[in-house]
């Protein structure tokens, strides 16, 4: 797929504020119930985690620091022995099904061979050890999850279509032909109920279920998720498996799934907002040769349900400072809601992985007759603040470092990190996104949402 030409991309200095990618442990340890995350780093990493995760730290979390000391840095101590001691302790205290080592800047710089040590210790302590290098030298915030999922992709069981060893290549050949042919044979239907669609991205289980049912409604059942709720429930991967990302920051995982596990990637916009969810499911249906049903009515219904919020933001302007890679999708949804987007800051832009989303953004701009926003990769926060003083947006979506100072300068702000923790995927959560976006505007007073939005009930169809 080609990147749309008319969108303007820029790249600045990369002096911006974001969370360290090790923050991914917060979401992931809760998602993968039987895991334990060990961050191999320094006090700096630990201090960040304990402050960023706030009260979570008090709840006996299943993550910890392996804190490097001077002896580790100067290689006076043996890394393998040190890690073995710590992992045995974890095994005794918590008995997890998998230990995930998070490599940090320190392990990168002193070139600690985590990937080399892991298989040795794995054998000795008999717990799988997955290594993910989620460090601030290479990645920003949500990309941490990407590195973990990419590492996990290697641990998924091998997919064999009939679970027989002979004649496999022939069958997969046959299989591919069946898929690409236009006729919907009974044989193919059967294949699909066996299902070979795996979704990747970590979502709270309730949201994952919503997307499952969204997909099932079009008779494309989801066969598995990466990550799964438990480590030993990881989905099978291999030739003949179609994979689709549900978050915009999973490009490494996508690459790994394609190149190393020979899966086929479905490049679709991400299921954020009713428009995104519909485009996402349509693309999946297209790949599986299914004519989607009832999508338009469903989307219209959802737009109707969030009308009270849309009235609030229509015509208002928004500025994304950029720190979590969800920016393109949320901007696209907000443009569809009638907002003007001045700038989309984003830490890293994978134009191939996000191609469908970018195209969709451009189409949305055309449809809504909005100017297309400038997309600023590796933004410079100082310059952004200067630009904001000129543009005076109604709303800035930004990190906490800038939120209070901007508020003091009369620019309404929404804390960007909330988008990564709130439930924003699928049609039914469109309201939650707007709940977040409109909060600073509602605070100004005068707005009372209709009764249904006061309660936290989900939309029924």
């Amino acid at each position: 797929m080609k990147t749309p030409e008319t969108l303007a991309f820029e790249c600045e200095t990369g002096n911006y504020h974001t969370f360290c990618p090790i923050s991914c442990v917060a979401r992931l340890y809760q998602k993968i119930e039987d895991s334990f995350f060990l961050v191999v780093g320094t006090k700096t990493c630990g201090y960040f985690l304990q402050n960023a995760l706030g009260v979570m730290i008090f709840a006996e979390p299943r993550y910890a620091m392996a804190e490097s000391e001077e002896g580790d840095i100067s290689a006076k101590l043996n890394d393998q022995e040190e890690l073995e001691k710590i992992c045995l302790q974890i095994k005794n205290d918590r008995n997890p099904s998998v230990i995930i080592w998070i490599g940090t800047c320190t392990t990168e710089i002193i070139k600690m061979d985590l990937e080399g040590i892991a298989p040795i210790l794995e054998k000795r302590i008999r717990i799988p050890i997955v290594v993910a290098r989620a460090n601030g030298l290479d990645y920003a915030f949500t990309q941490g999850e990407d590195t973990v999922l990419a590492a996990m992709a290697h641990r998924c069981p091998e997919y064999t279509r009939y679970r027989t060893s002979e004649g496999r290549s022939d069958e997969s050949e046959h299989f591919r032909i069946t898929i690409s042919s236009k006729n919907k044979s009974i044989f193919q239907k059967e294949q699909l109920t066996k299902s070979n669609l795996v979704l990747f991205g970590s979502l709270p289980s309730s949201v994952a279920l919503q997307l499952n049912s969204e997909s099932k409604r079009q008779s494309v059942p989801v066969s598995g998720w990466l990550p799964s709720q438990r480590y030993n429930e990881l989905p099978s991967l291999g030739e003949g498996i179609y994979v689709c990302g549900i978050n915009p920051f999973l490009s490494r995982t996508a690459t790994t799934l394609m190149r190393r596990r020979k899966c086929q990637l479905i490049g679709a916009p991400f299921p954020i907002g009713p428009d995104g969810t519909r485009a996402w499911i349509e693309k999946i249906c297209l790949i599986f040769n299914i004519k989607p049903e009832g999508l338009e009515e469903r989307e219209t219904q959802i737009w109707k349900n969030i009308k009270d919020y849309i009235q609030l933001i229509e015509g208002k302007s928004v500025f994304f400072m950029g720190d979590n890679l969800l920016e393109i999708s949320i901007a696209r949804f907000l443009i569809r809601c009638g907002m003007v987007v001045y700038e989309i800051g984003i830490p890293y832009m994978d134009r191939r992985y996000q191609a469908a989303e970018l195209l969709f953004l451009q189409q949305t701009c055309e449809k809504m007759k909005m100017p297309s926003p400038r997309i600023v990769e590796k933004p410079d926060n100082y310059s952004q603040v200067q630009r904001m003083h000129e543009l005076k947006p109604h709303l800035a979506i930004t990190g906490m470092a800038h939120a209070n100072p901007l508020e003091a300068r009369n620019i309404d702000t929404k804390w960007s990190v909330e988008f990564t923790f709130a439930q924003i995927h699928g049609s039914s959560n469109a309201r939650d996104i707007l709940e977040l976006v409109t909060r600073p505007l509602r605070r100004k007073g005068g707005f009372t949402p209709n009764p249904r939005s006061l309660s936290k009930q989900t939309l029924k169809n």
Binding site: C20, K43, T44, A52, M65, I73, Q89, I110
Partner: protein, 514 residues
Amino acid sequence: MKLAYWMYAGPAHIGTLRVASSFRNVHAIMHAPLGDDYFNVMRSMLERERDFTPVTASVVDRHVLARGSRDKVVNNISRKVEEQRPDSIVLTPTCTSSILQEDLQNFVDRASLDSESDVILADVNHYRVNELQASDKTLEQIVRHFLNKAREEGISNRSLTDTPSANIIGISTPGFHNQHDCRELKRLFGELGVSINQIIPEGELLRNLRDLPRAWFNVVPYREMGLMAASFLEKEYGMPYISRSPIGILNTADFIARIGKPVNLWASALLGKEVNYDLYIENQTKFVSQAAWFSKSIDCQNLAGKEAAVFGDATHAASITKILVKEMGIRVSCSGTYCKHDAERFNDQVRGLCDEVIITEDHTEIGNMIARIEPSAIFGTQMERHIGKRIDIPCGVISSPVHIQNFPSGYRPFLGYEGTNQISDLIYNSFNLGMEDHSLDVFGGHDTKGVNTKSLSIDRRDIDWAPEAELEPKKIPGFVRGKIKRNTEVFAKQNNISEITVDVMYAAKEKLSL
């Protein structure tokens, strides 16, 4: 390597940033990877700061790993000088830069060649010092730098002020109740007729530092930050300093009495009279502070002999221990600090005041200790508050690590005479709330909770409770229930009894006179 879940004091660079960003018009540039600028979030969140935190990162990424920072740091410094014209730039190393071992001093030298701002490299070793030590060190470094510079330029001013004056050293951002403490100190000095020469680092301009030696003496309210700077000033400029923290009635009285000394050193020559603060102390103790009366009142009588555990930084933990024991008659079963570097002094301070002293950075050790002692109240940090929540013991927060709740908008000093009132409230409320809850239990209010064993770590697997004995603890008021249960078990263990019956319980009670 060590397994760690939680830490009381942060990494070294946090201390440096606290000092640098407390001074006015100073910008700190961290030599750090993306995401290490979390200090900005903390400051903006905790202190609800209206201004952008003057801290940026010179980002260390793959390119820097491959070829060194080269011009990057220098460019970032000169860019910041141009954009914001700070008086000084403090280049702050992090754990990353201390492994990279780049010659940051060289960058600083190069950058200061053609920069209008002073450029300083914070001299802290990430692997040897923590946040508190680093803040102490950085403050001393900055003071030394600017005083030496002033001396070289011949603009240093060492003439004493006409009237008695003091410098307050160690008020900083995001310190535990620092802003309120500072206001209270100012008031106190105002009433003593001592003017404030300078308050550092909070809000002071670096170019004014040359006037630091004009004060008659220095005050270091917290042991964690400012001692090094104060002793530098004593050595180089002969300025006496007072490091007693005026927390609690006794400490405050002692603090004021100590002020008399340096003031009277010059008072007769410069003011023509000597000062005597005795009457002031008496009046304040009797009429301004309610704490002295409070400790005589019936309310406080009820607290007598109750057990408490104290944990926090050296300053607060020691002071609170003293208040609990000497001013309120509360028994401190255990007092501790995470300031390992100040352990000796802490031991001196609390010697004879508590049954046990614990000095550790490991929160599980504290948790187990509290579970074992089962005090009626805990006075600790946010961590102890959560430990208390889990085992149902009230906790008053008396020390950092801080939380947004520890930045109240209302006036809540810990220092001085108003501070004594605040502390009385804090202590009384912690105990009182516990009592209220328990009196409900005594009268069978809500006995649906089941037996609360209140243990975090006690291993009891080898002792069984007979069914009728199991019911017995439920008749006991909740606040002693856990303790009686556990003591009974200890008794059973000692006497090789494997099953606890009602008889065993009463035998234990007689024996241990519960």
